[in-house]
Symmetry: D2
Subunit: 332 residues, 4 copies
């Protein structure tokens, strides 16, 4: 960590600050320029609060040099991590597709969809039983019943299942779920991350709506530092000023994550764009950016009235997307 | 709710969609233009998923007309709500200042600070015992011990206390805390909101880093719909591209919230700006924008080394800020 | 256009507003619900100021139904436009790569680079002679001399040239330049757009730093409505809160633009990411998203000191990128 | 400027980079840590391209220490600049209010409005003759005729006038205009800035939609470095994800600008919020944040149909805003 002091910092202030750093177990290397004084901090600076430092009157700027994430860091773990999700491997060249409806709505719906996505080539079934909804008046999911139906669909199709967990108390209900999804809104629900960190369950950790790449990695670090190495990261669109797409799919974040961490990275074009017509090109874009897996919403429209008008892909459209994905995979 | 259909929607599709709406208990008013068909949806549209609708192939655009928040809505509750926090009233003309350190660090620190802020005119003591930190390696707070120290400071000074809660399991620890703070990162931790909604505790609900004004109101609605009307909203800066300040203080959101809701609104210039020199003007700006209270970080620097370099206001600076706040109050 | 009126709009106000619309030559279709009145505006609403309307006390919301861009609209011009840039076709299945240095620095540099990018497969040479720099103290380009050197490089290699124009007065200097680039900062410099619209020069119009997709199309419309149909659009990264990459490459905007307009679309991974290691994956991502061309920075580092440390691709790295681009092209 | 090199930088690379810096006239101070090498660059680093440096393979991070703006910098010019706009002083304790319609529409409209705003206390008349509109099909202003009408209104009321200029060719038309406004879309139209810099006209420079505070100052520097010191800065709202207000009024930017520069700073609540009801609180917020002037849209609705429904303030509402502004001024 480097602290650049302001021109008007007095000798006494600099000495006080230096002593305080040393009391935190950090060695200080002072470099005096004509106009500025630079303090290089050597040692374990993870305990130093960078915001506190930035706010000090005599400090002009502070810059971290070593990345604050350790266990997720590719520097210290150069080989790709391979996560086993109910027998399906993700990462290190193993590519997976998680497909299924946004919400589990009925037994018929989830089983039909599971069969359809399996046939089209999906390797995992995704479906929401607990739905984080902006409004308390919106449908919140089938809860335990939804998990039960997912397990039934797994039994029938053999597809491991991925479903979103919203609080530590739900862990017992998720015991047989193969992969816990932590949604964007909970990416910094640290108590949930720590609780999941105490299990060995694979986790699909989604990037928060306005989380930086480094914050996503720090949230992975919360899970890993508790002992659970099975973290899969997911780029699912960030919030920007553009309103044409639901979010802005930060495809380059996938490539950046592949550089910075050994953890597998998933792209979620469905939530990122909110438009069925963009799933195909954005799935391919995620693949060529280095994604280890994709998460795609697919449903068999049980309600005839909506059947030809759905945002989520219908199974036959999903087949076309799978072909495009396979083509994109073929050139890497 | 209004759905504008695309030019190429067939009569059959429109009829299917209309039937589906009706099956959801919503009356449909069709208006046929030369190029577009507009469906006006009348009745309880809260159950209609606007994102699903937007994704339909035949739908061009969807617009909500009635606001989806009910209990927080000023339309249905025109008078200001007044929330009683341990005997201190907030809202409806009652102005409060919550002051104190970011984290409770020691008995001496919190008691000294409590005395100092009380003397300067603060009416509530704020201090963190559970700290949501981006890094798992950063100081996470004193936990139960921190709450114990806050209660001691309350006993000595008489100031009601405000402290951040991070998960439902912590509720028993917060039994004597006068006001539960829900931090920006947990604004959409719906399970936490629901659990707090089942108590009657005053809640200080902070706007998420990239939450819209309406999303903040919907999160208040989560708490209120469970039975707890004692919600206080807080604008604490939003994440934008500007990096000079830590966040961008959306002062106009305070005025907007005062129009849209009867709930009290708090401004937090400390987190919004991250710069001590901006606390004074931004406190005044929040007051003239209609804020019912302010939350300001103040500490008595126990570590001599940092004593003249702190971001958080020192007690004597806070006195100056209180004077400015009172002046701003005087002209309303 | 649809205007939704507030519940409290009086009959007199609604009648006044209706008359005003009619005086603007627009037919009004009124639809009365229980709580809201909706005015459907039929006819040429392009002259109606949507911001003015939104600000009216009795108006709750306004929604445009027909897109305000006409000449750029794929609805009215379903086939892809093919733009001829000095003999190189772009669009309608014709793929091009514009490569070259950020700035023209010397004759040796631009000629060497031109030869190298041509050999690697680039079909156009790009290079800046007029540089829009944030600071007036930064290098502003070689100006006329830079254009002269580009033309020399064209003469030797046969590559048509693309270079940025910053004001209408520079048009005579650009007479022999094959394609005028309008930079992100000038995307809404309407006087420049109109002046270029009066020529028949191909234009590479870059999306502004925080321009929406629709605003980009409206800027194209400025050029086209003056009579110049030869507009090529360019996604070059948007400004978001993420700081790891220089901007956020909005890859999905390429796919969206291909849906909305018949104009060719270019992806610029160099400016979007600011990182050499991301050029390869982001070039592929742009191609599979439907880009008709790419613009990539390449230079032969004339200064030995910087030769092994450059952000811009070196010619041999660019060769690798071209191979990846060709692979991505092969699967479409 | 400080460059932090990556751990894997070789001795040869560091020496090459050092020599290159020295060839640019910059002294290099090398500081060797255990893991990183830091190069402190001393001397005139304004010519060093920070983006180029950041892109170098061996460079981890670069940080500017001295601000790149000189003439606008309060460090080198501690006293407030006072700009004389047609006899009205702005800055250094001199407060002004610029009021008037968005566009000049007719002689009657502008003269009536001018009289009304003068009576209410405005000290300058603003009105647009050249309007930058997103769509080429929208009303673009009355041009020369609009300027002529503004001058007539000035003659009658004595109010100096402020009007937006869009390109250097318009300078002759603006010869008698007291203050040239450069709009948000043209904040980085560097050719326009340079042309204005060659005059001595007061300039109202508006912050770009997504411009940082430092970029605004650098644009001021463009004007000042050409010889024109009469620059007035204007915060008019930035583009964020929030859509309830037209833009987000970055009130704290006013306070920050007052710290960083000696130039006067104006707040424009009309464009920032787009809502008449927010003008009053946001005007007060801007004043207590340190604004030296306000720019507010006011019109006398000539079209009876729109007269009771306008976004822009009507003269009698503006009177109320002026009272609030004066109250806010009284407590500073």
């Amino acid at each position: 960590m480097i602290a650049v002091l302001k021109e008007n910092a007095t000798e006494q202030q600099i000495r006080n600050l230096t002593e305080w750093f040393e009391s935190q177990g950090v060695k200080v290397n002072r470099s005096q320029g004509d106009f500025v004084t630079i303090l290089g901090l050597i040692g374990d600076t993870t305990k130093i609060d960078i915001d506190l430092l930035r706010g000090l009157d005599i400090v002009d700027n502070v810059m971290r040099i070593t990345e604050p994430f350790k266990k997720a860091n590719r520097k210290f773990h150069p080989e790709d991590s391979v996560i086993d999700v109910g027998g399906v491997k993700i990462g290190g060249g193993n590519f997976a597709v998680m497909a299924g409806p946004c919400s589990v709505e009925s037994e018929e719906q989830i089983i039909e969809t599971a069969k359809a996505v399996k046939e089209a080539g999906a390797t995992l079934l995704r479906g929401g039983a607990y739905k984080p909804r902006t409004s308390p008046y919106d449908f919140q999911g089938l809860h335990e019943e939804g998990i039960r139906l997912l397990l039934k669909a797994k039994e029938i199709t053999g597809l491991p299942i991925v479903s979103e967990i919203m609080s530590p108390e739900q862990l017992p209900v998720f015991e047989e779920v193969d992969c816990l999804q932590v949604g964007a809104r909970n990416m910094q629900n640290f108590d949930l991350l720590k609780a999941i960190g105490k299990t060995q369950k694979p986790v699909l950790l989604k990037r928060g709506l306005s989380a930086t790449i480094k914050e996503l990695l720090m949230s992975a670090e919360y899970i890993m530092s508790e002992g659970n190495p099975n973290v899969i990261l997911c780029e699912r669109g960030i919030r920007t000023y553009e309103t044409y797409t639901r979010n802005t799919f930060d495809v380059s974040a996938i490539s950046v994550l592949k550089e910075l961490t050994h953890l597998p990275v998933v792209g979620d074009p469905s939530h990122a764009t909110g438009k069925a017509s963009l799933i195909r090109p954005m799935s391919m874009a995620a693949v060529v950016s280095g994604a280890d897996a994709l998460e795609i919403e697919v449903h068999t429209a049980p309600e005839k009235a909506l059947s030809d008008a759905a945002q989520q892909l219908k199974p036959d459209e999903f087949k076309g997307v799978m072909e495009a994905i396979n083509k994109a995979r073929s050139i890497l």
